[in-house]
Symmetry: C2
Subunit: 152 residues, 2 copies
DNA sequence: TATTGTTATACTCTATAACTATA
DNA sequence: TATAGTTATAGAGTATAACAATA
């Protein structure tokens, strides 16, 4: 019985506070993004795929992309179909292994992605102005830790 | 020319860091929740509606619920249809204004919601153990500020 | 007329299972 | 046989526009 009752209750209070704020954040983020992306005729899943693709220097295969975007490959096929049709990404057979496909952002896709991101940065700058430099660092560090522990 | 160049660049560095981490957080949260909820046969939108409903002490109308869950009413009709069918919520005519409907969680819905939340709390406790008490307060405060500034 | 909510429509996302082509 | 990826299918979410019922 080393943990005092009071300490345990304090932990639970924090758990509930963080649960509430993170669920709220998750849904607000998703809906806001959904609406902002509509202006660019993009869905949240398409945007996630584009971002994942940007993470690969030389493009990727379908299965690598699916994993990076947290989708199964059957789902990714449909998402990629629609992005290819709009010339936002390309999908080509790998000549060395003709089962595999090589996927990458087109120039048009890179420009579009940057445009969307720049729009989001406007809001972020408002937020950052409310924080001190040390609070900014702390924010990034704590979110990073959250990602590691909760989704890592 | 009061803002030194160096200071501006530091701000932009933070903007990019937070942009990256928040987009990552948003998508990871969404996909993780989607998968966790599948176990309960719930979708993320249904869960958001249930949470929004829980925020009203006495239930709400369809339009209040739609606004709280960040949906339009046509979309909310479908989401509520499926939750009513499973007896997770109830939807009844308001006798005082027969255009309006009164929606609220059933006992079964309350129990289910609590079960889902408790499952998520397990992960949160792991996260909180990694933080000091003051870091916990800071985390909640900064996320709250983010919600205010970015989505408020 | 204005408000509350639903219906019809079209498109996208999602998972599962079965399939094709290549290794 | 094993792997990479697609297709078929069924259900859910989403916005728009048109609609019905009530105020």
């Amino acid at each position: 019985m080393t943990a005092p009752l009071q300490e345990k209750n304090l932990l639970e209070t924090d758990v509930e506070a963080i649960e509430r704020v993170m669920l709220q954040l998750g849904w607000a983020t998703h809906r806001q993004l959904h609406q902002e992306l509509a202006e660019f005729n993009l869905t949240v899943s398409q945007f996630a795929a584009m971002r994942a693709l940007q993470g690969f220097d030389e493009g990727s295969t379908m299965s690598e992309l699916a994993e990076a975007a947290r989708q199964i490959s059957a789902t990714m096929t449909g998402i990629v179909d629609r992005l290819v049709e709009r010339e936002i990404i390309t999908r080509q057979r790998d000549p060395d292994d003709r089962r595999a496909l090589h996927v990458s952002l087109t120039e048009k896709g890179i420009v579009l992605l940057e445009k969307v991101k720049e729009k989001k940065r406007v809001r972020l700058r408002h937020f950052l102005k409310e924080l001190s430099p040390s609070e900014r660092k702390t924010f990034v560090r704590l979110i990073g830790k959250y990602l590691d522990v909760v989704y890592g």
